[in-house]
């Protein structure tokens, strides 16, 4: 058994005045507020851009000592955009194996440190650098190919797909940790500047900095927010050029299948998933079979995944789209948010009486996928 | 009986051309730099070809060589030399010939080098190749002329300096599309055009590039060749010369005693500009695209500095089956995308961009 007993987030923003260690330390110390540092067995750090942009090696140890935990066991996990959930999965393994009884997971990354033209170059490293990563993918090039293919294959128009970012912005309005807290209309999405046409700026995650932390414990004494029932993952095709159907994330389908074998998931009330771009959110909903293939955008547009809709509430935080996507930190934010929802303590858009939640992360176009299942303990 | 000239043992097995799709009109250049239209009209120019931002002499050279190999139909393993003539090298130090050889599958057992002699380097590579092939040292040689020619913005040279490439696969005369009959080189130290190390654009002597340079050397080479072979202009069906503009090749042909109808088939510069190392070689390719078996061709490239080589070539029956195996010059000339002066300036790195 693994329980989430402490959580913390830094608001996603351009934190020019704080470095990676500082952001991680703020999140970590808050998550551990009432825990004794010397009862901590491990710190698992999730960071991706720290390496992509040559900032710091052995980041976990430096964060540990900077935060005041010198002596603790520390290691870093890197799995691109899916790093955060990868770190949570490592932490859960330590707990489940009995090697640790209390683990701190902290995810941190900063995208505001460099000019955008440089950050776009780093983004290409989410993809195979001996293949398409050699080309000028920039921000959203591969997702743009998927979006056009989706529109052509399923005859979905651009406006229907614009309901996703509109919903995300609407959800984020109440989230004090979200980077973009303003409403937009679907029409505005189409009017926004193109980033990787057909993707516009308003289909894309904002470039912000963030850190989130959570404490996982093996026994549920004290202040338990939620149970971390299972985390599963799978690797997938290294390129969308390889699968017969590029609009299926084989890695996520497989990870989800493994998760359902590991845990009996009867219903899902809330999901935080990886909508780096609108099309990613749509394809993930379909990979999870929460919508029929080609129908997820339409379901979003009629409120199926909104609060009060028939389906689970998707991304009440605002998702990567509006909360933000500080790469290595994102998965940790998602698990924190789901845990807070299940514990009834989420400070933004609340999903009332939610008992079952998922967090989903994907790197690139599905080279890896992680999925976590959380359950309320009430 | 006089001894056979070694050239007669050699022939052209494949020819190939690459012309980038982008074009700019002469009017646009004239308007930008305050020239009167009479300036470019006197050069008999209409448009010039411009390499795209992801092209350079190496990429164009490879495309031309690949087209030549399609026509040649020879095993890349039988190619023993790759000579790349350019005055616009992407690397000051590092051969382009090896990149092209690698991409063609010719490596590693081959000679490969970049040659420099203004617009004549590829021609020198051709003549050297005839010797290598005739001697049996190599079976086939690939000679590539390719340039993204530079001109100082505002210099009259800007009307003509353009981008393009031509390539030839030379080998034993049997099976070739055209056999060599003879060749002749003529060089002197004539400083008509130069570019100093580390400088982006060449300087030239304007009129001085004409009489003592272009005309003197081409006439020296062409007359020398005809004297050696005992031929006169009327013995040739076609004559093609280096073409720095649309006017010079007609004039030098006339000075040598050729008639306009012998010259026109090989003049491509008015539509694409002066492609430097590829200039005369694209002209020759256009002739081969259309020539009949038995036609005799005089070809004389020229390079500043200065020198010219003249070759006499006789077309064989094999030309017919080879010509449709790769794009013809006229097809390449007609596929075009018009761009304006600012796009041209960006594509050819004339706008100073500061990078890391």
């Amino acid at each position: 058994m693994a329980y989430i007993t402490g959580v913390s987030m830094v608001n996603v923003d351009r934190h020019y005045d704080k470095g990676v260690k500082r952001l991680a330390a703020e999140a970590s110390s808050k998550a551990l507020e009432d825990a004794e540092p010397d009862t901590l067995d491990y710190i698992i750090v999730s960071s991706s851009f720290t390496y992509a942009s040559d900032v710091q090696l052995d980041i976990a140890s430096y964060i540990a000592s900077y935060t005041g935990f010198r002596g603790v066991r520390a290691l870093a996990v890197e799995s691109g955009e899916a790093s955060g959930l990868a770190a949570v999965s490592v932490a859960k393994s330590l707990i489940d194996s009995g090697l640790a009884s209390r683990v701190l997971v902290v995810g941190v990354d900063k995208l505001s440190e460099w000019p955008t033209w440089k950050v776009y170059g780093h983004f290409s490293k989410f993809y195979d650098v001996e293949g398409e990563g050699m080309y000028s993918i920039g921000m959203g090039g591969i997702a743009g190919i998927l979006m056009r293919l989706y529109m052509e294959t399923f005859k979905v128009d651009r406006l229907t797909l614009a309901y996703w970012p509109a919903l995300m912005h609407s959800n984020a309005k109440l989230n004090p940790y979200a980077m973009l807290r303003f409403a937009i209309t679907p029409e505005k999405v189409l009017e926004a500047p193109p980033v990787a046409d057909p993707i516009t700026l308003l289909d894309s995650f904002p470039l912000g900095d963030g850190a989130a932390a959570l404490v996982i414990e093996g026994s549920g004494r004290g202040n338990v927010l939620a149970e971390l029932v299972a985390v599963e993952s799978a690797t997938g095709y290294p390129s969308i050029a390889l699968p017969e159907d590029p609009l299926r994330f084989e890695s996520l389908e497989r990870a989800y299948q493994r998760l359902t074998q590991r845990a009996d998931i009867k219903e899902v009330d809330v999901i935080e998933l990886h909508d780096s771009f609108t099309i990613m959110g749509i394809l993930e909903l379909e990979s999870l079979r929460l919508a029929e293939r080609g129908k997820a955008a339409e379901a979003v547009s009629r409120g199926y995944f909104s609060l009060g809709g028939e389906g689970p509430v998707v991304n009440p935080s605002g998702g990567l789209k509006a909360r933000g996507h500080p790469i290595g930190a994102t998965g940790v934010y998602q698990v924190v948010e789901v845990a807070l929802q299940l514990g009834g303590e989420f400070p933004g858009l609340k999903v009332p009486d939610s008992r079952h939640g998922l967090a989903v992360s994907v790197n690139g176009s599905g080279s890896s996928a992680y999925i976590a299942y959380l359950r309320s303990v009430g | 009986m006089p001894q056979q000239r070694p050239e007669t043992a050699t022939g052209i097995h494949g020819w190939g051309v690459y012309i980038p799709r982008f074009r700019i009109k002469m009017e646009d250049i004239a308007r930008e730099w305050g020239w009167s239209d009479s300036q470019w009209k006197a050069l008999a120019m209409i448009e010039k070809a411009i390499a795209g931002p992801d092209e350079d002499s190496t990429t164009m050279g490879l495309e031309a060589a690949a087209n030549a190999m399609k026509r040649a139909g020879v095993d890349p393993g039988d190619v023993g030399a790759v000579f790349f003539g350019t005055e616009s090298k992407p690397y000051a130090v590092k051969p382009s010939a090896t990149i092209i050889a690698e991409a063609l599958g010719v490596t590693p057992v081959t000679m490969a080098s970049d040659l420099e002699f203004a617009c004549r380097a590829a021609s020198e590579g051709l003549r050297a190749s005839l010797g290598l092939v005739a001697s049996g040292m190599v079976k086939y040689a690939i000679i590539i002329g390719s340039d993204t020619a530079q001109a100082n913005p505002g210099d009259v040279l800007e009307f003509t300096a353009s981008s393009g490439a031509a390539a030839y696969v030379v080998g034993p005369s049997p099976g070739s599309a055209a056999v060599f009959e003879g060749s002749y080189s003529y060089v002197t130290d004539t400083p008509d055009f130069w570019r100093r190390e580390g400088t982006p654009y060449p300087r030239h002597g304007e009129g001085f590039t004409g009489e003592p340079a272009y005309f003197a050397h081409i006439i020296g080479a062409a007359r020398g060749l005809m004297n050696t072979l005992g031929l006169k202009p009327s013995d040739f069906k076609y004559a093609v010369f280096h073409q720095p503009n649309g006017r010079f090749p007609l004039k030098v042909g006339e000075m040598l005693g050729f008639k306009p109808e012998q010259l026109k088939a090989g003049i491509v510069t008015p539509l694409i500009g002066n492609t430097y190392n590829a200039s005369a070689l694209i002209g020759l390719a256009r002739i081969l695209d259309n020539a009949a078996p038995g036609d005799r061709i005089l070809v004389a490239p020229f390079g500043s500095g200065a020198g010219s080589d003249a070759y006499s070539i006789i077309v064989t029956d094999a030309v017919e089956e080879k010509r449709n195996k790769a794009p013809k010059v006229d097809e390449l000339v007609s596929k075009k995308i018009m761009i304006n002066y600012s796009t041209y300036a960006k594509f050819r790195h004339m706008i100073r961009v500061v990078r890391e």
Partner: protein, 134 residues
């Protein structure tokens, strides 16, 4: 791609220059770039095979958010090209966004695909362009 090493550029030269794919001797399928194992059946018995040079554009994106070294050709058109026996992700060159459409025929051309700033190596490789000239 910026800040890449000379050995990395060198190692990939064959597949980049000649569009060489990996061909699985077990299931017969091709994949690009060549991998150590077959992405379809897992076999590690691979041979190399050159891909066809003409294909169909399955989908594309017009990328405005490009790294600085690509700025001279922005917006960059990134395409998913179906070559029949395999698909590749590549740049579509010699074309403006209005010249490009799903289903159009494209042909391979040899181009500069990346460069390491102004003083580093130039990476050459295959891009695709519309078969139809303007």
């Amino acid at each position: 791609m910026a800040g890449f090493s000379a050995p990395a550029v060198w190692r990939g030269r064959t597949h980049r220059y000649r569009l060489v794919a990996g061909k699985c001797t077990s299931c017969g399928k091709l994949h690009y770039p060549p991998s150590y194992s077959c992405p379809y059946c897992g076999s590690r018995s691979m041979v190399e095979a050159e891909l066809p040079r003409v294909g169909r554009l399955m989908s594309y994106s017009v990328v405005y958010s490009v790294p600085f070294d690509s700025k001279s050709r922005a917006p960059v058109i990134l395409g998913l090209v179906d070559l029949g026996v395999a698909r590749v992700i590549s740049e579509i060159t010699d074309a403006s966004p209005e010249d490009v459409s799903v289903g159009m025929q494209v042909e391979a051309v040899f181009r500069r695909i990346a460069e390491d700033g102004g003083t580093g190596l130039i990476v050459y490789g295959i891009k695709f362009r519309p078969v139809k000239g303007a």
